[in-house]
């Protein structure tokens, strides 16, 4: 509360002893202050040659003085506040409004859920009501009434998500896990085979059309005219678009069905009802399962280390260096219908836990899935239905809608200008999109080893050799670790060289320099992390592009123990 941190200087004057041998002590003290009067008295006696027998008297008088002055100080302050009210300088309504604002600020966080045990899905609305009822109860206890803050829709959505989360989490840790994951898995297989068919069909039609077109073109001037070619091209376009739309609608129907069925399954089995695993709509599948590509997701090279960080209190972390394609971590090894891949069990069980897996993906500043690694990532996501979170496109839409907010914030918070360099160029104009070092986050339940994807925006400066620890992408990595810490992400994979693929200019020495920078910065951030009061980073994985030479990999692997001081290998004793 106000005033208690400020203090006034005043001079304390006390007279000790009896006439004619009295002593007057004058000492400046700050009020209010937490001085111990007994110690102050000792100090005065020590430094001013006051007889020791006066100590008791002195400390008592000092105590009385301090008490009086402190009370006086508060009295004056309170009186001033009250005087303001009486004289009309502060109005009752102003003060009331300020208080109300303060309470409502606090209430924004008030998203309290009633216990969800036993609640089944159709009761969502009642649950929301009971949530409100709960807020009311808390508020009544605290003696104030909340301002409506969250819109009804948001609240309902948040509530729904959390309900599903709670139900799913308890199911996945119960015997129901087998049918549940079986369902998810069969959904995924269905979807991926459908997607594969779509690709196949589209490829087929485009091949056919190319053939047709080439044969047509070859005949131009013989029996056919340019117009025929144009017509054919138009028809081809129409055909392929039609086919695409057909496929897309088929897929989206399947997706919606799967989402609905999944929800029903979770609710029903949570309510304890026996659920027959819904029949997968096999009608969509026309053989051709060979086209379901099975890619090897084994990283080609990897090496693990265990390190201890910290001066006295050691914290254990696992470090792993692996050479693989970033998206390989997202793909399931096999889509064989018969058995559920172990990663799926692992990933699903920890989905709503406090041990999440994150991956940093380097992207450009356009938020879409049209080009490069973004397109590949989009494909991986579309291979199976996202059963828990909004689809990738919808999540990206939310991010795109946030960008104006970010731009506005940037305008409002320009980087600090220092007076010392007058000649410094004026700050660059605020870009209309995200810039290097920013990242956006998407959440996934259908990827193999990843729950949270950090899309880190990077620019071309990363290709140069001379980036340092103040580079925005490095700062961005620190922010990633911060979010990981607050958001309970305990396994994180980051691209060690800050690049998705190798290119010409990335020489041995370039790689070495880059790796050293990233290792050292990450080490620093990890040590810093322990004071942030969040989750510990249990596994830190450094990813290097797949095509890397064995020699370079070995070199990078040998740097790691030096920088992280893995000086203490485990020694197994025979005795």
């Amino acid at each position: 509360m106000v005033g208690s941190t400020r203090s006034d200087e005043c001079v304390c004057e006390v007279t000790l002893g009896v006439e004619p041998q009295s002593i007057t002590v004058r000492v400046p003290v700050a009020v209010p202050a937490n001085i111990c009067p007994v110690e102050l008295a000792h100090r005065l006696i020590l430094h001013h040659n006051i007889p020791i027998y006066l100590h008791n008297e002195l400390s008592e008088k000092l105590q009385a003085f301090l008490q009086n002055r402190t009370e006086e100080y508060h009295r004056q302050q309170d009186q001033r506040a009250l005087q303001g009210l009486r004289e009309g300088r502060t109005s009752v309504s102003d003060a009331a409004a300020a208080w109300a604002a303060k309470y409502s600020q606090v209430l924004t966080g008030l998203a309290i859920l009633e216990a969800v045990s036993g609640a089944a899905w159709p009761e969502t609305i009642t649950c929301c009501c009971s949530v409100e009822g709960y807020i009311m109860r808390v508020v009544v206890q605290l003696g104030y009434i909340p301002q409506p803050y969250l819109s009804k829709k948001q609240e309902a959505e948040g509530c729904e998500n959390e309900l599903l989360a709670t139900m799913y989490h308890s199911l996945v840790h119960s015997p129901t896990v087998v049918p549940l994951l079986g369902l998810e898995h069969s959904f995924a297989s269905t979807m991926s085979s459908l997607v594969a068919q779509r690709e196949h069909a589209l490829r087929e039609i485009s091949e056919r059309q190319t053939q047709e077109m080439s044969s047509t073109v070859s005949k131009v001037g013989v029996h056919l005219t340019d117009d025929d070619v144009n017509n054919l091209a138009a028809r081809h376009l129409e055909d392929s678009q039609l086919l695409e739309v057909q496929w897309d609608s088929t897929i989206s129907v399947l997706r919606e069905n799967q989402k609905r069925e999944f929800k029903t399954f979770v609710e029903e089995s949570f309510a304890g009802r026996e659920v027959t695993t819904p029949v997968t709509p096999k009608d969509f599948i026309k053989g051709d399962t060979e086209s379901v590509l099975v890619e090897s997701s084994e990283p080609s090279q990897e090496e693990s280390f265990t390190i201890h960080l910290g001066a006295q209190m050691k914290q254990m972390h696992n470090l792993r260096l692996l050479s693989a394609d970033a998206l390989q971590l997202c793909k399931y090894l096999t889509l064989d219908l018969s058995d559920i891949p172990p990663q799926r069990i692992q990933t699903s069980m920890s989905l709503y836990s406090h041990n999440l897996n994150g991956l940093v993906l380097l992207v450009d500043d356009r938020i879409n899935t049209y080009t490069g690694i973004k397109r590949d990532f989009g494909r991986v996501c579309r291979k199976s239905t996202e059963l828990h979170f909004p689809d990738l496109e919808d999540q990206l839409e939310v991010v795109r809608n946030t960008v104006p907010q970010v731009v506005q914030w940037r305008r409002d918070h320009p980087p600090p200008q220092y007076d010392c360099d007058e000649d410094a160029p004026p700050p660059p104009p605020v870009p209309q999109h995200l810039k290097a070092g920013d990242f956006y986050i998407t959440r996934h339940s259908n990827l193999a080893d990843v729950h949270v994807m950090f899309h880190m925006v990077v620019d071309d400066t990363l290709h140069t050799t001379d980036i340092n620890s103040r580079h925005p992408v490095i700062l961005g990595l620190r922010n990633v670790l911060k979010v990981a810490c607050l958001g309970d992400i305990t396994t994180l994979t980051i691209p060690l060289l800050l690049t998705n693929s190798m290119s010409e200019e990335m020489t041995m020495s370039w790689c070495q320099k880059r790796a050293e920078l990233v290792y050292k910065c990450i080490k620093g951030f990890m040590m810093e992390m322990s004071s942030w009061g969040g989750a510990e980073m249990k596994n830190m994985q450094f990813l290097v592009p797949k095509g890397i030479s064995e020699e370079l990999f070995q070199h990078l692997a040998s740097m790691l123990p030096n920088i992280f001081r893995v000086s203490n290998p485990l020694v197994v004793k025979s005795s």
Partner: protein
């Protein structure tokens, strides 16, 4: 006694939780370091609340810090609060009952004011009523621990009962970041007087104030409008249609309430002066109103006067506390039936012994019995955690700002308190007979001897409820009888030290005595000194992983204790490392700086005598030379390796000894180590060093110089229990004179030091160890043993028929040998048995020597041929013979004692 925690009685242990406010991202303090998280500030600040001990204030039992800035508070708790009690019991509503209540609340407030804070949260919900009808303020520490509300984002207090000036000031105030260290947290005591007035008026008028208000603004407006009316009580009565109930009130009570509801803060009386109001005259104080500072040893002469008032109050009031309230609400649990048998007319046969224990003890045991507050709060739905994946933000910019998601946790104050169920603990301890709760310490009964647990490893013993209960019971008694029972404490501590009483046991082991608090008070800890700067730099780097030591309160206390030590030891100086040395004592005695200071001074006196001299090189060099000898003596293999690569103790062991390992290990390991270290002599740390090296031996043997340096620059994980065990073994197998140091603190009483020294008569001065010059010490690789120790070892051999513990090798020429040597000595003349390059040649006696490998091998020679002795000893050291030592001052020392004989 010292940890002033009242007994459990019929209280429950209540847990509540809230969040500290998070700092805006990337904000730094004025010193450029990141800001201390608010939860740590609160944690450090709240520690002092545990000192509060008053019958009308609920005790603070413990406080925990969870992940993501969560704070969990454990307090004494009762299920009945004033609001419910006033409705349920007419005697609570009666003028007499209200006057009594007012008196009790005011006492609590005065105590708080004397403690140096205000409650600021007074409301009917925060006044609990115990089964005897006594009022107990609850949650009064929020204002103090949150530093006047600056480290949380919610406003303190309940609006209806908050004084108008508080509302006015808070409305205008900004959200404080709490950047100032050591800011005072005093508030105006009259705020609480207003709240008390409101609480009383509400009961008197029999209505709930402002229940018609729809929102916050209206409510605040109503309270503020009170401030504008000339007579708030009248105003309240009118606005709530309760004028008639106001009429019938006794004048005194009405006067009291109106006095409390004085609008002007300067006219409103402070709680202290309310005590002399006519209304409260008939009542007697329940207890002393002055907080008693923690003290140890128990008899502290400076406290007699205060305690007298305390006891007077105690005898008059506490014993005749009234009958229990009927129909008191009970916790739905078995323990309730245990406490209140249905048939209450029969004398209760089984008294609940646990409720006789102090709350902190019960809580400690509850934790040992598997209790975990965070789990309990989760179970009872007070902590609801959203899956973290649902709270992630959607965008984070490079500047550190977050968009979307609600990763910052909800910041409300949850007013609910849950009761920690004690039935598991009760049932675990149910079979222990009552008499065990009162061990007879004079007869040496410790209660644990017959327990199976006492044979198990320390880790298990420390976590076993029953074992720890017995330890607590006997240690409590022993500590109360300290210093008289100092010897028994030492004896018991040899078994183990219960973590709960570690602070006091250590103090007892260090012989802390006298007017500890008084001495500390007299030291000037404020006046700037030249070392301040260094202390200021070192503290933020000392054991900062610990939340207590990294809190602003911790830093302040650190500074005070260190400055006090520097000021009070003018012949010594502050060396870096003293901060680490101080850390364990401060951690254990966080609420008692004086004791931390005393322990530190005693510890340094005993184990680090002269280490903190301005020129301490001679002392440290001697210590390291002795350490080197110890390595050679106990592990020649390792010694030879380290010697070959030139990895000398100077390079790594200085911080070990200067800080007694506190610089290299985390606190929990230091506790384990020091529990034993404090039992032993000043030479034990050397043995610990040897044990440490031995544990790392395998690695060290493989490593070259650079790797060794790296290894020790970042101390690897160590199995501390093994180190402790082995260091005791090392200590026992080392003759005392081997670890003799010139600069050691002189032993207090030489006659008690060892039986060997008993024999040291005036004529046998030569037999005892004395100082060796530093260059000599450093030149020799093997330690020297004194004549007396050697004789004792030989005598040991004679008295026991078994194999000898020691082999004496006489390296003088055969002629000298024949003229007289020690019994059973073998003769290996240095001239003939050593090659020109100093290597050992095979000779007839080699077989004997080899058969004694592992035993102590004492190389003796003449005083004049000292070089030969050293050379020979080193030659067998190279052969990796362990426990090689040389005889200090040569064979000549035995001449006077008559120990020499002609070899047969």
């Amino acid at each position: 006694m010292y940890p002033a925690s009242p007994r459990l009685g019929r209280a429950h242990l209540g847990a509540s939780t809230f969040f500290a406010s998070a700092h805006p991202s990337e904000s730094c303090g004025s010193n450029g370091l990141p800001l201390t998280p608010n939860s740590i500030r609160i944690y450090g600040q709240a520690r002092a609340l545990q000192l509060i001990n008053h019958p009308h204030l609920c005790s603070y039992v413990d406080i925990h810090r969870g992940k993501h800035e969560r704070i969990m508070v454990i307090q004494e708790y009762y299920l009945l609060n004033l609001r419910v009690a006033a409705q349920k019991y007419p005697e609570m509503r009666s003028p007499q009952g209200l006057a009594r209540l007012a008196h009790q609340v005011v006492q609590g407030l005065v105590y708080l004011n004397n403690f140096g804070t205000v409650a600021c949260t007074l409301s009917p919900e925060n006044i609990l009523i115990d089964p005897r009808g006594q009022a107990k303020l609850y949650n009064y520490g929020l204002y103090y621990m949150t530093e006047a509300g600056t480290s949380v984002s919610f406003p303190l207090g309940t609006v209806q009962y908050t004084a108008p000036e508080v509302l006015l000031m808070q409305a205008g105030s900004q959200e404080g970041g709490g950047g100032v260290t050591g800011a005072t947290v005093t508030g105006n005591p009259v705020w609480d007087v207003w709240s008390l007035g409101m609480v009383l008026a509400e009961i008197l008028l029999g209505c709930t104030f402002f229940s018609g208000c729809k929102d916050m603004e209206e409510l605040v407006g109503e309270v503020l409008s009170l401030a504008l009316s000339p007579n708030p009580l009248q105003h309240l009565a009118q606005s709530h249609n309760a004028c008639h109930s106001l009429e019938g009130l006794p004048g005194e009570l009405k006067d009291f309430v109106s006095l409390c509801l004085t609008v002007g803060p300067s006219e409103r009386p402070v709680p202290r002066s309310l005590l002399s109001h006519r209304l409260l005259q008939p009542f007697i104080l329940s207890a002393s109103l002055v907080p008693v500072h923690p003290h140890f040893p128990v008899v502290d002469p400076s406290l007699c006067l205060i305690d007298f008032a305390h006891f007077k109050a105690k005898f008059s009031m506490m014993e005749n506390s009234g009958p229990t309230l009927t129909d008191y609400p009970l916790h739905a649990e078995t323990e309730a039936s245990l406490e209140f048998p249905k048939d209450s007319t029969k004398p209760r046969l089984k008294r609940d012994q646990l409720s006789e224990r102090s709350m902190r003890e019960v809580y400690h045991l509850w934790q040992l019995a598997g209790g975990n507050v965070e789990q309990e709060l989760k179970k009872q739905k007070l902590i609801k955690i959203k899956p973290s994946i649902l709270t992630l933000p959607s965008v984070m910019v490079v500047e550190g700002e977050v968009f979307g998601g609600d990763i910052s946790h909800s910041q409300q104050l949850e007013a609910t308190t849950i009761v920690l169920p004690l039935h598991t603990l009760r049932s675990r301890l149910a079979h222990i007979p009552p008499e065990k709760y009162y061990p007879l310490i004079t007869q040496g009964e410790s209660g644990t001897d017959e327990l199976e647990t006492s044979q198990l490893p320390l880790v298990i013993r420390e976590r076993d409820v029953e074992y720890q209960l017995h330890r607590l019971l006997s240690f409590q008694r022993l500590l109360q009888a300290y210093p008289h029972k100092g010897d028994s404490i030492l004896k018991e501590a040899r078994k183990d030290t219960p973590p709960f009483y570690r602070a006091l046991v250590w103090a007892a082991l260090l012989n802390v005595d006298g007017a500890v608090a008084h001495t500390y008070q007299q030291i000037d800890k404020e006046t700037p000194t030249p070392t301040d700067r260094q202390i200021e730099v070192d503290i933020p780097r000392c054991h900062q992983y610990d939340e207590l030591l990294s809190s602003p309160q911790g830093h302040a206390k650190f500074t005070r204790v260190l400055k006090a030590w520097v000021v009070s030891h003018p012949h010594l100086v502050y060396w870096q490392g003293l901060d680490s040395l101080c850390a364990p004592f401060l951690y254990l005695n966080f609420n008692n700086e004086a004791l931390a200071y005393s322990c530190l001074s005693r510890f340094i006196e005993k184990y680090l005598h002269k280490f903190f001299l301005r020129d301490n090189s001679a002392i440290i060099q001697e210590y390291l030379a002795k350490f080197s000898h110890m390595i050679a003596f106990h592990d020649p293999h390792l010694f030879n390796h380290l010697d070959n690569i030139g990895f000398i103790p100077e390079l790594y062991a200085i911080p070990w000894f200067l800080t007694m390992y506190t610089h290299v290990f985390p606190l929990q390991k230091i506790f384990l180590l020091w529990d034993t270290l404090l039992l032993g002599e000043a030479s034990l740390p050397l043995c610990v060093g040897v044990a440490l090296l031995r544990q790392l031996k395998d690695r060290l043997l493989q490593f070259g110089f650079n790797e060794c340096i790296l290894l020790f620059s970042d101390m690897p994980d160590i199995d501390m229990e093994r180190v402790v065990r082995e260091s005791v073994q090392v200590f026992c197998s080392t003759p005392r004179s081997v670890t003799f140091r010139q600069h050691e603190r002189p032993r207090p009483d030489p006659s008690q030091a060892s039986p060997a020294h008993n024999a040291a008569q005036a004529g046998q001065q030569d037999l005892v160890m004395d100082g060796v010059s530093l260059p000599e010490l450093k030149r020799e690789k093997c330690p020297r043993v004194c004549g007396a120790d050697l004789l004792e070892l030989l005598a040991h051999k004679r008295s026991h028929s078994g194999r000898a513990k020691v082999l004496v090798v006489d390296v003088r020429s055969p002629e000298e040998f024949a003229r007289g040597t020690l019994a059973d000595a073998i003769n290996m003349p240095a001239d003939t048995s050593l090659g020109p390059d100093g290597t050992l040649l095979m000779g007839p006696q080699m077989e004997v020597l080899s058969s004694y490998r592992g035993k102590i091998i004492a190389v003796i020679g003449s005083r004049n041929g000292w070089d030969q002795v050293v050379k020979f000893a080193e030659a067998i050291l190279v052969q990796e013979f362990p426990r090689v030592c040389t005889l200090h001052k040569g064979v000549e020392v035995f001449r006077a004692s008559g120990a020499l004989m002609v070899p047969s």
